[in-house]
């Protein structure tokens, strides 16, 4: 029995009068690929924002590797090993694909103003290592050919792959993917699925994935959590969840 890497307990998020997340509790097992599904407006993206520190929850707790992280700023949660992507890709448009990735590693010597000027050879040495890592990640995600293009020139599907690549650059323990498959053509989709699987097998990364494409969820996920109106409706093995009447009704809007 695997242990939970992420625990959410009684999480609430209010936007003015709208309760986007409503007393939501769930666990994500370490090393799993867990699907998070549910109709539009169920609060899935908001849940990601809360876990990754982009919003402060109104109430409730989030625990990552037995440590409370709710309310921490996003850059500290990032350092604990949780990295998220965006439903609509947010690439750094006028920077190259390579630069988009080289940005990511934490604790870069050259991010200190002083050392960027005074210790340039140290910075250069580290830059070479970071570039090598970035090229490896580009290879892994099949983006090597576009490494030097400005990111705004990528196709929609490539931008989704770049989002995945950005998370891998962080050497994360857990990745939150927000609709990675939406609008991606079958060839790139296969590459994406393959990348996610291999990242789990080879790097031991835990994935929590919001996805609407049920085929993709069935192929990829060990476990599926269904959200509706801000909290967990049901969960279980993909096949069992798919046949659950309540899930069908939630999607139909009853």
């Amino acid at each position: 029995m695997a242990s939970a890497i992420l625990r959410v307990r009684g999480l609430v998020m209010d936007f003015g009068g709208v309760r986007a997340v409503d007393n939501c509790s769930l666990n994500v097992d370490e090393g799993s690929i867990t699907g998070l599904i549910g109709p539009n407006g169920a609060g899935k993206t908001t849940l990601f924002n809360l876990v990754a520190g982009f919003h402060k929850p109104t109430a409730g707790r989030v625990t990552f590797r037995d440590e409370r992280i709710d309310g921490l700023p996003s850059y500290l949660i990032f350092r604990k090993g949780i990295v998220r992507t965006f439903q609509i890709p947010r690439e750094l448009k006028r920077m190259s694909v390579l630069e988009n990735l080289m940005l990511v590693p934490s604790d870069q010597i050259g991010e200190s103003m002083w050392r960027a000027v005074a210790a340039r050879w140290l910075v250069k040495r580290q830059e070479r290592a970071i570039e090598a890592q970035a090229r490896e990640v580009l290879e892994f995600t099949g983006l090597s050919e576009v490494a030097d293009l400005p990111a705004e020139g990528l196709s929609g599907g490539q931008k989704k792959l770049l989002e995945l690549a950005r998370t891998l650059m962080a050497k994360p323990r857990m990745v939150l993917l927000d609709e990675p498959g939406a609008g991606v053509n079958p060839t790139l989709l296969r590459r994406l699925v393959d990348g996610i699987r291999r990242a789990r097998e080879e790097l031991g990364i835990t994935f929590l994935i919001i996805e609407h494409d049920m085929g993709l969820v069935m192929r990829l996920c060990d476990h599926v959590i269904v959200m509706s109106e801000g909290s967990v409706l049901t969960q279980g093995a993909p096949a069992a969840v798919q046949q659950d009447d309540r899930v069908v009704r939630a999607y139909l809007g009853d």
């Binding site: 990754a52 982009f54 700023p73 996003s74 850059y75 990032f78 350092r79 990295v83 998220r84 992507t85 965006f86 947010r90 690439e91 750094l92 448009k93 006028r94 920077m95 630069e99 080289m102 940005l103 990511v104 934490s106 870069q108 010597i109 050259g110 991010e111 200190s112 103003m113 960027a116 000027v117 340039r120 910075v123 830059e127 950005r166 962080a170």
Partner: protein, 336 residues
């Protein structure tokens, strides 16, 4: 004519400094500072007040002008000749600009982008009004006018401009080298990421506030030093030099014309805009009147935005590369 050109080159150098600072703010980080004039004025007055006593200071206790450094340091043997007061004045200008930027930045940078714009605009006007109204400190609208020359004992007044031009170029080159090293470093990469999309920078694990504050202070320091350089060029300053038009608009025009977020654009932009601005004063009325001159600078900005949104610097670099390409084969041949 030569005198005019030297004076012109000094001001191009000084304005390149302001534009370099604004490039750090807006060009690389996306910080919308519309109060450049505030840091400009703070630098100019701080530097001046460190080296002289203001004309109306008799009514004020001596300790307030512990400064008066020009006379005090000049009186020292040996060291006096080095004109260290100039260095102290520049450092003081930098320090005051940094402290003001730190305070405004800490309060407003966490908030939405527009708050920084409003705050910088407000500070710039407040600073100007303080110097206009606190006459014991700054002599009101008449301003300060006994600011000494650098290297006075060594250089004759006729040569001052040429020597001061070298001083300005050296100070600019130093700051340019630092900015260049910074924007090409991982630190600069984080700034550009913040400019492109702050949320992505956050999702890449960056402490966005820290980097924005650092960039804001750095740009303000550069502007403050620019203000000090300006004061020792004209050697007379008054609040009328720091209006939103002369202290902010024209510097924005230089950045846009040169090309925001490009290393060389401060020089290219300052040269072109200051050329038009100071050249047009010789035109007959009504072409040489201030409102027409402002209009022509504004029109230039609009034209550049329409036809060369990346500014003129890329075009200048292309021409330079064409020339280099033409010369290089010959040079290689000569070496063999």
């Amino acid at each position: 004519m030569l005198e005019f050109l030297t004076g012109f080159a000094i001001l191009v150098g000084v304005y390149s400094v302001f534009t370099l600072g604004l490039n750090v703010h807006w060009g690389y980080t996306g910080l919308f500072n519309i109060g450049v004039a505030g840091f400009f004025a703070l630098g100019a007055y701080t530097a001046s007040l460190l080296v002289i006593r203001p004309p109306q200071s008799d009514q004020v206790d001596d300790y307030l002008f512990a400064g008066d450094l020009a006379n005090r340091l000049d009186a020292l043997p040996v060291i006096g000749a080095l004109d260290l007061w100039f260095v102290v004045a520049l450092a003081g200008a930098a320090l005051v600009a940094a402290m003001v930027a730190l305070v405004i930045g800490t309060i407003t940078i966490r908030l939405r982008g527009d708050y920084l714009a409003i705050a910088t605009l407000g500070i710039a006007e407040s600073v100007r009004l303080v110097f206009l109204n606190e006459r014991w400190l700054s002599n009101g609208s008449k301003g300060l006018y006994t600011i000494p020359r650098v290297f006075d004992g060594i250089v004759s007044p006729q040569d001052y401009d040429r020597v001061y031009l070298v001083v300005v170029l050296v100070v600019f080159a130093l700051m340019f080298a630092v900015v260049r090293a910074l924007v090409h470093s991982p630190w600069g990469r984080v700034l550009r990421a913040i400019r492109e999309d702050e949320v992505t920078a956050e999702a890449s694990g960056k402490h966005v506030f820290r980097f924005k504050l650092q960039a804001f202070v750095l740009g303000a320091v550069i502007m403050g030093i620019g203000g000090a350089l300006y004061a020792f060029d004209l050697r007379a300053i008054s609040p009328s030099a720091f209006t939103p038009l002369l202290g902010t608009f024209i510097i924005w025009a230089m950045l846009v014309v040169g090309g925001s977020g490009r290393l060389y654009s401060p020089v290219v932009g300052a040269l072109i805009v200051w050329g038009i601005w100071s050249g047009s004063q010789f035109l007959p009325d009504p072409l040489g009147s201030p409102h027409v001159r402002y209009f022509s600078v504004g029109a230039l900005v609009v034209l550049v935005l329409m036809y060369a949104p990346d500014g003129i610097t890329p075009e200048v670099l292309r021409i330079r590369d064409r020339w280099l390409a033409r010369w290089r084969p010959r040079r290689v041949a000569a070496n063999e």
